[in-house]
Amino acid sequence: MTDLAAYPSGLRARAEELAAPFPALLADADQLARTLMMGGHGRRRAGAGSEFWQYRPAQAGDAARAIDWRRSGQSDVYFVREKEWQAAQSVHFWCDLSKSMQFSSLENSATKHQYAALLTLALSILLMNGGERVALDSLGTPPRIGGQQLRRIAEGLSTSQNVENGVPDVSNFAPQSRAVFLSDFLGPIAPIEAAVAAAADRGIGGVLFQILDPAEEAFPYQGRTVFTSMAGSTSHETLRAGDLKERYLDRLSERKAALRSLAAQAGWQYSCQHTNASAGAALLWMFQALEQGTR
């Protein structure tokens, strides 16, 4: 009896706990997206769309129902009303959900994952508002538009993968689409390079967005320390962590340079952002980078 009574409420409690981040994430992303004014996204030529483009004299072959009778009534010529071609772009997001992204050294313990998820969702909202279709790599679904897809993305972003470093899977990316990779790119770089190369081969342009924790940039460690990876698979012991700082920072800047050159080779955009910096600026940059690639 008690079990039965307890079960629904317990389930609900867990469900609510689980669901709690979504509205917050959605709301945050929505609020973030509102800061950018969404402009028109037309192709500046006639085609399928909703916006009026031009009236042209009807030609042979035009269906009678295509004739705009109101405009034609003003003269003796039949006019056809043409609309601007609005082709929707597909944008594939790969947000790194690995353990590595769970690291935080900040006082509010905002992880790189949270930062990346926020940016992903906000950008998704923006893109959907612009009529683009959006897909999240980890879901494996084709790019879609609409609130349902947004909720699905939000759900997908709140999961995490129990792996050390994430690897993007570009196999189901639509050709000629856009890709956004959000990660700390601190794992082995070879899978990333492979993924970017494969995407570029299929004509996919995109953005490499590196998200780092301030501690990863400052390396404020001293004394004898065993550094373990977030999933615990790898560790490194040092007796004087302070001595490692210089060499670590060298390696970090090497990695950044490698990412930048990778992006440049593939015609992609690259940027690096810290989790203690404003998400708005990062969102603006990414939006602009995507638009640039579109034109």
Partner: protein, 925 residues
């Protein structure tokens, strides 16, 4: 116990553990401080980055040393190190503990006894038989051995004696012991006669070890009269280089209460330091003893008895002095005789009698004026000593011819007689040896004392009893008669050498001294004491306190004159019929001699006599080392940065741990104590009661005021603190609003300072609340003992005119409306300051307009404290009345208390309240 130098180890086998230290060294060196674990996402970037300094894989050497130190300290600590280990702990043979127990031990007696107790505790642990003896008080049956436990209870019965040990008695006691026994001799550090014999006897029984406390022994030497005061010598022996001591002269003040009459502070160095007292003759005559303050030892006290007293002798001659040759003057010989020992005053008769001398000498004065006669008689009967000398005038006059003159011991025959002259028969008469009843008994009579002329006494029945010196033919030479408390003595010869050679001889001086009690210490004492019996009245104990001698055995003068303080003749005051003699611990020839010990005895110094366990110290050391290690590890592993305040904080903690020591807070000085008292009394309103010295009464006072305080706190906005007892002599009074003073018969008289303090207190707004506590028997017109006592106490107080509390007094309505003031008793009047009755009560007004001050004194008899008193758990302490009526009476007592406090605190405020309606009315307009 294994002893290494000054340190012994209770568990020395643990020290073997020190051998593992080298192993530990290697182990500790090999194990670096534990790393801290840090999750780090970019660990892949770190892979392959090696440390530059490979040596850091091992602990730094100093950290290893620190840990070794900690471990070593722990090992040594648990091996039970003891500084100054007690030797002979392993012995289990019989033990003799011999305590010198002289006055020199007295200042440190309690610590000596604690030391002995410690030794006994140790002996008890090893089940030894012990004989404890105080050398000055050896048991008659000799030393007896008992288990140590039984001695520990007896220790409180031992006390130091005011004399040195008697070696003979001690040897007899030691001789009784028929077994081997080691000895522990607790020495005072002073030598005494034949001490080495005792030591030899003890060494025959077994090993002797000596505990000697090196400390400063002080003694006050005999006090000598000097010009303008007295001189004495403070003897000092021992370590303290320069000690500041105060020597006080103590004696009764005019009201008979013992007080310090003078004191001198001086720095005493080793050896003899002279002390000079400036004392006026008035004060000097009153001094009974000198003592060194804060040195509770019999040798620090010098009893003076009568030796400092110099009688005042008034000399009156019947002849005019003018132009006479000195040798013919009747006063010349008297002056010479009294000069040494007395203060001589001369002048007109009225002045002399007014100066109230001890002795008045009338040299050949026949007739006095009627007025003078009466004065002289009065003076004599109050204890004066009248010495009369015969002469031409007396012989020619008709004084005491027809009957006994009140100022003459005998009736005289007309004329007189001359013997041995040219016109007479017979030789000049010699003196007959003094009879036993005579005050001159025992004095040597020189051969050359001869009498040629004298006045003759009428043979009468009383004559024989009155004669105290006779000539060889039995004719009275000196006669005496008591008058009241004094006496009249007549020398039947002149005071100059005309009639006899007596004034030329030393006998004259001795006789006068015996008559006037005017001898000084040292001179003529032996002769004074010849054939006298002295009975002790006050005896000194080892601590230098005087006690009543009780039924102590009298001592003969011959013995006394050669006696030094001993068990038979203890130091104290001894009295003959008319004089008091002092026998002091420290005589004129006494010296402080340090005890020398042969090398055969084992010396145990007292300062290192106490075992000091080093375990706590070592454990603290280990702890401190570990704390430092912790700090170092934290810094090495980067958990604490160099910049942070944490290392400083931790170091501070470690330092404070090591340094902080409760002993730093030494005893507070008296001033600080007084400050504390004032602070406690003034931080809140505090009721106070006078400490009467009777504990039961004081307790009831305190509990009564506690009860009143509780009632006040419960019913009014007055919330007093815990009541305080006040010692009128020492404590400041000004901070208390009221002093409850229960009168007891045992209340000691107050000093003049206390009276002035109390008067100042009353003048500055304080109130004394006297409670004679006899409301059941006192009443109007009845003098009770406590009432009389109150009168005695209050005579010097500035008490205003009193009246019973009038019915319209503020006290009757300051909080409750009361018509009686019951305490434990009902009905006795309560008296307070008489109010100014200027305004008669006006029409329709129930109260007179009394706006006078708060009465500085309230006197009652109803034993209020008993009615108020509550126990700790809030129950009433004393019954009041019976049943419900009694409880109602107690309630009324509380109400009186509250009214009283309101009266004390608000004064006539309630009386002013009658004006409130008028004031309000005026304001309304």
């Amino acid at each position: 116990m294994w002893v290494l130098g000054p340190i012994g180890f209770a568990a020395p086998f643990l020290l073997w553990a020190l051998l593992i230290l080298p192993v530990l060294w290697l182990l500790l060196r090999a194990v670096p401080p534990a790393p801290k674990r840090q999750q780090f996402a970019a660990v892949f970037l770190l892979l392959g980055l090696d440390d530059k300094e490979a040596q850091a894989a091992r602990s730094p050497w100093w950290m290893t040393l620190l840990r070794m130190l900690a471990v070593a300290a722990l090992i040594v600590a648990f091996s039970g190190p003891v500084l100054n280990p007690q030797s002979g702990e392993d012995d289990d043979g019989p033990l003799i503990i011999l305590v010198d127990g002289t006055w020199a031990d007295a200042p440190v007696w309690s610590s000596q006894m604690a030391r002995v107790d410690e030794i006994l505790a140790q002996a008890d642990r090893s089940d030894r038989l012990v004989a404890v003896s105080v050398a000055t008080d050896t048991p008659a049956q000799g030393l007896t051995f008992k288990p140590a436990r039984m001695w520990r209870a007896d220790l409180v019965g031992f006390s130091p004696a005011p004399y040195v040990p008697d070696a003979d008695a001690l040897l007899r006691a030691i001789d009784v012991v028929d077994q081997e026994a080691s000895t522990l001799w607790v020495s005072s550090g002073l030598d005494y006669p034949r001490r080495l014999d005792v030591l030899a006897a003890l060494e025959r029984l077994g090993a002797v070890s000596v505990i000697e406390t090196p400390r400063n022994v002080l003694a006050l030497g005999p006090v000598m009269r000097a010009d303008g005061g007295v001189n004495a010598v403070v003897h000092s022996l021992g370590s303290a280089p320069d000690r500041e001591v105060t020597v006080s002269a103590i004696g009764p003040d005019p009201s008979g209460i013992e007080r310090v009459l003078g004191h001198v502070s001086l720095a005493v160095s080793a050896g003899a330091t002279p002390v000079e007292f400036a004392l006026r003759p008035e004060l000097r005559n009153r001094v009974t003893r000198f003592e060194i303050d804060k040195e509770p030892s019999a040798a620090a006290v010098q009893l003076v008895a009568d030796s400092l007293k110099r009688p005042k002798v008034a000399l009156i001659s019947g002849q005019s002095e003018g132009g006479d040759i000195d040798l013919l003057s009747p006063l010349h010989y008297l002056r010479a005789a009294f000069e040494q020992s007395s203060d001589i005053i001369e002048g007109t008769f009225d002045d002399l009698v007014a100066a109230n001398p001890d002795v008045i000498v009338l040299a050949d004065v026949a007739r006095l004026a009627g007025d003078e006669n009466a004065k002289l008689l009065e003076w004599t009967s109050k204890g004066g000593q009248l010495l009369r000398f015969a002469g031409e005038k007396l012989a020619a006059s008709d004084v005491a011819r027809d009957g006994i003159d009140p100022l003459m011991p005998v009736t005289l025959r007309a004329g007189g007689r001359s013997i041995g002259g040219a016109m007479s028969w017979g030789e000049p008469k010699l003196l007959r040896p003094f009879a036993e009843a005579s005050p001159f008994f025992g004095l040597e009579i020189p051969d050359d004392v001869a009498v040629t002329s004298q006045v003759l006494a009428q043979p009468e029945p009383e004559l024989a009893a009155r004669v105290i010196a006779t000539l060889a033919d039995g004719t009275p030479l000196v006669t005496r008669k008591t008058v009241g408390q004094g006496q009249v003595v007549l020398f039947h010869v002149t005071a100059n050498a005309q009639w006899s050679t007596l004034p030329l001889s030393g006998l004259f001086v001795s006789m006068l001294q015996r008559l006037t009690s005017a001898s000084s210490v040292g001179e003529a004492q032996d002769s004074d004491l010849q054939r006298q019996v002295l009975s002790p009245t006050l005896l000194l104990d080892g601590f230098g306190d005087l006690h009543d001698a009780g039924l102590s055995e009298p001592v003969s003068g011959e013995v006394f004159s050669n006696a030094s303080a001993s068990a038979k003749t203890p130091a104290g005051i001894y009295e003959t019929q008319d004089r008091a003699f002092a026998l002091n611990v420290f005589g004129p020839t006494s010296k402080l001699v340090a005890a020398q010990w042969p090398s055969s005895v084992e010396m145990i110094g007292a300062q290192n006599a106490a075992e000091v366990s080093l375990k706590p110290v070592l454990l603290m050391l280990a702890l401190a080392a570990l704390a430092l290690d912790l700090l170092a590890v934290l810094m090495l592993t980067g958990r604490v940065t160099y910049k942070g305040a944490a290392p400083l904080f931790i170091a501070g903690c470690v330092f404070a741990m090591g340094v902080s020591n409760p002993n730093i807070l030494l005893a507070q000085s008296a001033g600080a104590q007084q400050d504390a008292f004032l602070q406690a009394a003034s931080s809140e309103l505090t009721l106070a009661y006078v400490l009467t010295g009777d504990k039961a009464v004081d307790d009831v006072s305190r509990q009564g005021l506690v009860g009143l305080s509780q009632a006040l706190a419960a019913r009014t906005s007055v919330e007093p603190a815990v009541p305080m007892g006040v010692n009128l002599e020492t404590d400041p009074l000004g901070v208390f609003p009221i002093l409850y003073w229960p009168i007891t018969l045992s209340q000691p008289p107050l000093s003049a300072q206390s009276y002035s303090k109390l008067n100042a207190y009353m003048r500055s707004g304080g109130m004394l609340f006297f409670d004679t506590r006899d409301g059941d028997i006192s009443g109007f017109g009845q003098a009770t003992p406590l009432g009389t006592k109150l009168r005695d106490i209050a005579y010097a107080l500035d008490v205003p005119p009193l009246e019973p509390v009038p019915q319209d007094h503020v006290l009757t309505r300051s909080f409750y409306l009361l018509d009686a003031f019951p305490g434990r008793y009902v009905g006795a009047d309560v008296w307070l300051q008489k109010s100014f009755d200027q305004e008669p009560s006006s029409e329709g007004m129930p109260f007179r307009n009394l706006n006078d001050n708060v009465s500085p004194v309230i006197i009652g008899a109803n034993d209020w404290a008993s009615a108020w008193a509550v126990t700790e758990d809030g129950r009433a302490l004393r019954p009041v009345g019976s049943g419900y009526v009694g409880e109602q009476q107690r309630e009324m007592a509380y109400r009186f208390g509250i009214n009283l406090m309101m009266y004390v605190l608000t004064g006539s405020y309630k009386s002013d309240q009658v004006h409130v309606p008028a004031l309000l009315e005026r304001l309304g307009e």
